[in-house]
Amino acid sequence: MTAVPVRDHEPAALRLRRMSGQVGWGILAWVVGLAFFLPVLWMVITAFKPESAAQTWPPKFVFSPTLAQFRLVFSGWGPFVTHSLIATTVSTVLVLLLGVPAAYALSVHPVPHWRDGLFFFISTKMLPIVAAIGPLYVIALKTHLLDSIWVLIILYTAMNLPLAIWLIRSFMLEVPREMLEAAELDGAGRIREIGEVILPVISPGLVSTALICVIFAWNELFLALNLTVTNAATMPMFLISSVPQEGLYLAHLSAAATVASVPVILVGWIAQRSLVRGLSMGAIK
């Protein structure tokens, strides 16, 4: 707690101004924070309502909570969450397996034209995947990958790889030169260098990279929507299915939304510090 300290002989007017300034600032920040958080809070509150309480005017803040919506959600989410978990973890593992060596080749012992390599990767991020969705559908169909978890794994890996390479590269660049030179003097070859010197040092960075990849893969809707139906449908699809064509089911969709979002929210809260670095692709430390 930053207590507002008492100063000796401080003139009362000054002290009043100082203390009220500090307190006022804090109040403003809290108001803004709560206002921004309000929709999330409302989502969670609504998730505990029976539908009858969710569709009232004025909206109810006091009601008798029920777990009925959540029970519904959990009874239906089985395959969806499994698919999401598989697609997310496998693609993230692949991203790390491909990305670590690539980042290595673009940082510690850079290949000639490494700049071009870096920009090639980032250019794939700039080209909208949406542009190729039609032909992607056709390709997936013809290779029998349509509605298979593999099509998502393959595409999510490609989606997150550029980000991961930039990020991991930024972490590798922070390994002190002297450490690498000492390892070289000790006779460490390339593989040794990566495995025993670099990876241990950047392991927190690898964790934050993995978390960022998990966030993007878990939340991804567009590809899942277009390329899967039932056999590989992920959590975002589950969400859509919780909104039937007819009728208003506000409480139910809130429960589904809450369940779908909670994993990523928790991950993001825990990995807060590395969030900036991940989002800026390593530009901001």
Partner: protein
Amino acid sequence: MANVKFVSATRVYAKDAPPAVDALDLDIKDGEFMVLVGPSGSGKTTALRMLAGLEPLDGGRVEIGEKDVTFVPPKDRDIAMVFQNYALYPSKTVAENMGFALKMQGVPKEERARRVHEAARLLDLDDTMLDRKPKALSGGQRQRVAMGRAIVREPRVFLMDEPLSNLDAKLRVQTRSQIAELQRRLGITTVYVTHDQVEAMTMGHRVAVLAGGHLQQCDTPRQLYDNPVNQFVAGFIGSPAMNLQTVPLTEGGARLAGTTLPLPTAVRTAASQAGLREIVLGIRPEHLHLANGSGPVAGEVMLVEELGADALLHVRLAEDHNLVVARTEGRKPPAPGQQVTFNVQPDDVFAFHPETGARLAG
């Protein structure tokens, strides 16, 4: 141009921790160059920042020009500060850096440019540099820009926080004399913080030695050297440092290297009044005069450091095996392993209380 006063100034950081600055009382005269010196953690930088208004006071007050400025914000104190890392504005050119304070005061553009040019000339910054940004400058150039930014303001007080510590040794010596000369010319009251006692001794009119948040002694360099008020000041001022050894008291003096060094009556009286059996004896290296085998203090040379004009002898004394450093002529110093003897003048011997460190009968 104004005098500066710290009156019982105190700064506490953590509730139960000892104060960073503890009831500091310091009077700095108008136009004086006052150096605050001490080891890291002594509170010297905190005291400077309290004067600047960058640290609040938890007790006491600060006065500039006989006016209480304790609650006056920095910009209204009419002071200028040179920071340790220069704190130049990276997005602005040298000229904009130097003119920034004037711009904040609303000084018109031509007047600003004139004063910036004047200060630049004073500091040997040529016009080509004025349009450059700080990152295109060398360390020494940046330091001068930082000084220029302070000079342009023509403030009542200059504050300098270890401005030379980031320069290489040669540049430091050069800039040291330039700063002292500048202050003499401009005559502005200056409070200068450093951890380097050589800087303190060569630059200040008076030097305030701080340790652990307390003022140890505030005096001219000469006085600090000749009449240190306690063991800390005696050991801090002077390079190489004064030899300080705990030795037993005997009839008529203190026992060192198997011989009794006579102590003045006043010292012996003070020691017996305090009920002391031993004292801390202080002798400066240059006061151990090499005698050709006939001196009372004997020892064996362990190491010789040849400095050119002088040589420093690290000597293990006979009997009590205390290690002392003695300074001698550089021409033909004794060799390591040689047995040597020293003469010491009674006036050159300092005695300190072994627990409080206070000088006995100064």
